[in-house]
Assembly symmetry: C2
Homo-oligomer: 330 residues x 2
């Protein structure tokens, strides 16, 4: 019934703005059909994921439209990367709030175009609707992996080591700056943290290279400890993380310090879009090589044992008492 | 950041309610991972589509939760059917408004379960978020067609005939009843129209059988004339529809009458989820056979000529002056 909402001009503008985003995919039919086709290289299977971002929950209305677009796409590319999949395409379902104007839409499309160029993905379809309330963006993204090789949450074995890419807690750091904690940091560090929150970097080059090395993997969205906890749950194993080994950025160290409280906060904050994974000790050298090839830091932060749950170990090797972490994501 | 919204109990309930919906698909990994895998039978390709339904725009908050679930799924199954695809699975992105309670969620999941059984599809993943505003549901659905055989909007040729399944205008009829036009009809007819609005019937058995017969096809969601107009646009042809041949249900005839105005209204109303398609005259007998096999009425309602646009012909064969129809759907 959207057609009764009288936003015709905007829907036509979207058709104009989005059609160029579909040029790389013949199966997208220039976005002029009800559906798109996807073909998969022989010996591969398709990996699919979907994430919704809601105004006021996952981004701020005042965020630059281009970075809202990019974050919406990147959180999905991060899911694919953590599964070892090479992203190929995505669908975009956009529910437009009344405050959206033509300029916003243009800048949103520009953000998508920039990320398509950076990550080699193509828009293949979707839906645009009006909503009386808040802007809501759902992206479903598609990638491919060699048949049967997708990295899963299950698969970690006692004796495996736990690794994580990049640094942890930066997005949470930026939110704390917005809440007034920024007195200690200068504009440059603030911008560094803001960029980590607004346009996280999905580890698209690293993920596919972990196939054959990692036994289990997850992207860090709910929080490092919560997401490593997902690996523990599905793998039916216990995971120990050493607090001192969790990588914090220089900016976050200035903002929050480096004591145990700061580390716990970083490891619970979420929105990192790094890859946390388990791998046998024998993969350690190969992982170091992959890290260099991709120019992405990878740190060993813990180990897998018999048992269940996730424990954070303090500097003395003693488990820290933690509240319940993160939330269930289906 | 949903985890900061304090809806943990609800997210856990959803995980419990939805896990059984994924049992039919090994690639769904019991919904315990960040992504799912899809495999495609050899010689086939995947057809993907996505539709969003918004509270107050596409359904009413007071609609039964099961029928909101079913409509959300069915509008996607209708898109796949109109492309000749056999549906296999779907992802569900659910943005929960504050008014949603446990009972609502249970009934929503029951609706999905009923339709999964009816249409042979399986939930394979998705995302649940909180929204401060209105319930928003995006479903991305997946089906398969023989390689290169997807029915498209483009492909209609001068000389082809235009056909449509089922009856047209019933959902619009129900909305007019809600607006106070129901004085002429009894409760039974009202319920017939309500069911057509709340739980449209995607023509999943008919669509795949049109491969090899139809030259172009579309599902009727924006309105018969608007959607046939999409075929005309993409096929770069003119389509003539004979008003007298547009099939109206008995209930709608009682409600709106059978004059030209009623027919125009029906053909512009939308939300029909029938299949409109073009096919060469030589396919007519085969189409009649398919119609009988599927037990779905199919009416021939017009023809394709050289030119552009869509025209509605009155009883005397003269084009009716129409306002601009429907809206652009990307």
């Amino acid at each position: 019934m959207d057609r009764r909402q009288g936003r015709r001009g905007e829907f036509e503008l979207i058709a104009e703005l989005f059609a160029p985003l579909a040029r790389g995919a013949p199966g997208a039919l220039d976005l002029k059909d009800d559906a798109a086709t996807i073909t998969i290289p022989q010996g591969h299977e398709l990996v699919v994921t979907a994430d919704t971002l809601v105004e006021g929950v996952h981004f701020l209305k005042s965020d630059p439209p281009g970075s809202i677009a990019r974050k919406s796409l990147r959180v999905n590319l991060s899911d694919l990367a953590a599964k070892g999949a090479s992203a190929q395409s995505y669908m975009l379902a956009l529910s437009l709030a009344p405050w959206i104007d033509d300029d916003w839409l243009k800048r949103f499309a520009e953000g998508l175009a920039a990320d398509q160029a950076q990550f080699g993905v193509t828009l293949i379809g979707g839906d645009t609707t009006s909503t009386p309330a808040v802007l809501t963006i759902t992206i479903a993204a598609f990638g491919t992996v060699p048949l049967g090789k997708m990295l899963k949450r299950g698969g970690a074995r006692p004796g495996d080591r736990i690794f994580v890419s990049g640094t942890i807690g930066d997005a949470g750091g930026f939110l704390s700056v917005l809440d007034g904690e920024g007195a200690r940091i200068d504009a440059e560090l603030r911008d560094t943290l803001a960029a980590r929150y607004r346009t996280p970097t999905p580890r698209t080059s690293l993920g596919p290279k972990l196939i054959g090395l990692a036994s289990a993997a997850v992207d860090v969205s709910d929080g490092l400890l919560a997401d490593v906890g997902h690996i523990a749950d599905v793998s039916r194993a216990r995971i120990l993380i050493e607090a001192a080994k969790i990588p914090l950025s220089g900016a976050l160290r200035v903002l929050w310090g480096t004591d145990l409280e700061a580390i716990i906060r970083a490891a619970s904050a979420g929105d990192d879009y790094e890859i946390a994974f388990a791998a046998p000790e024998s993969s350690r050298n190969a992982i170091a090589n992959v890290s260099r090839e991709c120019d992405i830091l990878v740190h060993e932060i813990g180990r897998v044992e018999e048992g269940e749950g996730v424990s954070l170990l303090d500097l003395g090797g003693c488990p820290v008492a933690l509240g319940r972490l993160g939330f269930t994501h289906f």
